[in-house]
């Protein structure tokens, strides 16, 4: 085993994992505060990707700068969906939530097909195919940017939840909705804001991904699947769990590709997921009883 290969595998794994973490933060926040697992999460990501694509296409904006558009747009989408749809299934059994949001997934994915058509749309930027060289290790520029966005947004989210009144109210609602309402927190407002922030984070992930992945109505689905696995691995609702879970899955994928075979990356990461579930049925960072 060459040291340089090993380092490259680690770096690739962290970069892939960083994207999984970024995609998962919004999903786990939504569950943590609002108690909903959104099976249309991949489609929220897809909407974020389209927002970036059209902002780049129509206005010639740098894709990363389009964060100032994709995040507010997706905030609105998340808040509206919470107010008109998710509100009715809060506290419903997992089965109800799964199939209502699967219905939403059908609507969003095929709605995008109707509006945008089936063709793959590819962004072109100066750095799409660039790599940064650190000694013998090559780092893909767009994935590095995605990684930086993950770190930045995670830190900002953490600060928001721990330092601001709104963030603290959100944490209170996460821990106990009824008591939070009793001490005067407007939980309804907290829920739509949390759903908005969750979707905005997902929109940011879409922006980051669109710099190196073609945009199409089905582009979000594969990332959505990785996000579900990630948040379950790191325990639903746990932000740290989503980040660590994403990195574990990314590293497993990278090691599988290098040391087993080119088609064994996902096989290894999914197998590790199953093994963890066998040992810890409530994920790595289980805190509250999950039913």
């Amino acid at each position: 085993m060459h040291l340089s290969t090993f380092l490259q595998v680690i770096v690739n794994g962290l970069l892939i994992g960083g994207v999984y973490a970024l995609v998962s933060v919004g999903l786990t926040l939504l569950f943590g505060v609002v108690d909903i697992v959104n099976f249309a999460h991949g489609e929220f990501l897809m909407l974020g990707m389209y927002t970036t694509y059209w902002a780049w296409y129509a206005m010639g904006m740098d894709p990363i700068l389009t964060l100032v558009i994709s995040m507010p747009v997706m905030f609105l989408v998340g808040a509206v969906v919470q107010k008109f749809l998710f509100k009715y299934i809060m506290g419903a059994p997992a089965l109800t939530q799964i199939f209502l949001t699967v219905g939403l997934q059908f609507v969003l994915q095929n709605g995008a097909l109707m509006v945008f058509g089936p063709q793959l749309r590819k962004l072109k930027t100066g750095y799409s195919d660039q790599a940064v060289h650190l000694g013998t290790v090559n780092v893909s520029a767009p994935q590095l940017i995605a990684f930086a966005i993950t770190i930045t947004l995670s830190v900002l989210l953490f600060l928001f939840l721990s330092r601001t009144d709104l963030g603290k109210a959100m944490k209170a609602a996460q821990q106990d909705k009824h008591t939070a309402a009793l001490i005067g927190i407007n939980t309804d407002r907290i829920f739509w804001i949390a759903a908005g922030i969750s979707a905005a984070l997902t929109g940011a992930a879409g922006t980051a991904i669109s710099t190196y992945t073609p945009v199409a109505p089905t582009s979000g689905a594969a990332f959505g699947l990785m996000a579900y696995i990630t948040v379950i691995l790191g325990s639903l609702g746990n932000l740290k769990g989503a980040v660590v879970g994403g990195l574990i899955l990314g590293l497993a994928e990278s090691f599988g590709i290098q040391y087993i075979s080119a088609d064994a990356g996902k096989l290894l990461s999914f197998s590790i997921f199953i093994l963890v579930m066998l040992v810890r049925p409530q994920g790595l960072f289980a805190t509250k009883e999950s039913v």
């Binding site: 109707m114 088609d263 999914f270």
Partner: protein, 361 residues
Amino acid sequence: MDLSRLAKEQTAATVPITAPVDRAGRIGITNPRLYVPVIGLILMILLPLAVNDAYYLNILNLMLLFAAVGVAWNLLGGYARQVSLGHGIFFGIGAYTSTLMQIHWDITPWVGMLAGGLLAVVVGFVIGLGVFRLRGHYFAISTIAFSTIVMLLFVKFYTVTGGAQGLSVPLKNSFWMLQFDGKLPYYYIFLAVMLLMVVVARLIEKSRLGYYMIAMGQDEQAARAIGINIPRVKHTALAISAFCTAIIGTLYVQYMYFVEPAGIFSVPMSVEFALVSIVGGLGTVFGPVLGAFIMKPIVTLTNDYLGNVLPGLNYTIYGVILILVIVLRPNGLIGPVSTGYRYLLAKLPGYKADGKGGTKI
């Protein structure tokens, strides 16, 4: 409540409102409770002869097939409330086992489907060991993870499975090889299998196992507290459901002549098995049948008539229906249909209540 009063009420509830049907307790053919289903069955048998058009016959065939697999899914997902999104695994094992046995050893799919069914039971047992400790979202997403792993394994070990390109069923038209020229013979086979599944579901529903499954599905901790062996009930329900799903998988591949990992083990395939039960009614015998009879024609017809005009419209409509059903009728559409059916029966000549407290469909 006073216990003696409760006991009295219970006795009262079991006393027939009108006189029982005959001395042996059988229902006569003059009673609509018997003649309406018989007429329905005769109509189902005559229907394809009246349709006599390959396009519409195909839709009918898919309706029956998905109704059958929906009933199989519903045994585990509906009655026992173990929401599997990985039933494509068993469906695919059924399809692949019979096809590989035909290709390599020339073995008839009538035998292959049993082999596939047994293999699905074994695989289901192993998966069950992994997922039955999990609850809610953890369970559902882990079943998705398993079906993704199975799909990746089928792609990776292509020397055995044919890999990502998939497998074709060798062409040999004969009843013995479960292959036919037109679509009509398939209709009768699928109809028979669907009716068989309905009978199986009905028998299980009324069995000790069925009561255990329903109790567990409603409240697992309470069911455990009254002494139900939870892991055993879950594994038994999964074994029956997986076996039936695999057999229908063999029928599917004999009808389609082709199977590929990305299609059969995909999340949308497994989700569709569950959807017919959700739309029709979870944990009811005829719920999945109703769901398949509503959803399958809607998707196919909207796709064929609107697909070229506006691709995506068909599944958008599908999604909207799903959302509306879950928000407005969380128990599925079987409730009003069942009430309507009973109302109709009561209006027909010769109607007599059976004294068992009404018909359940």
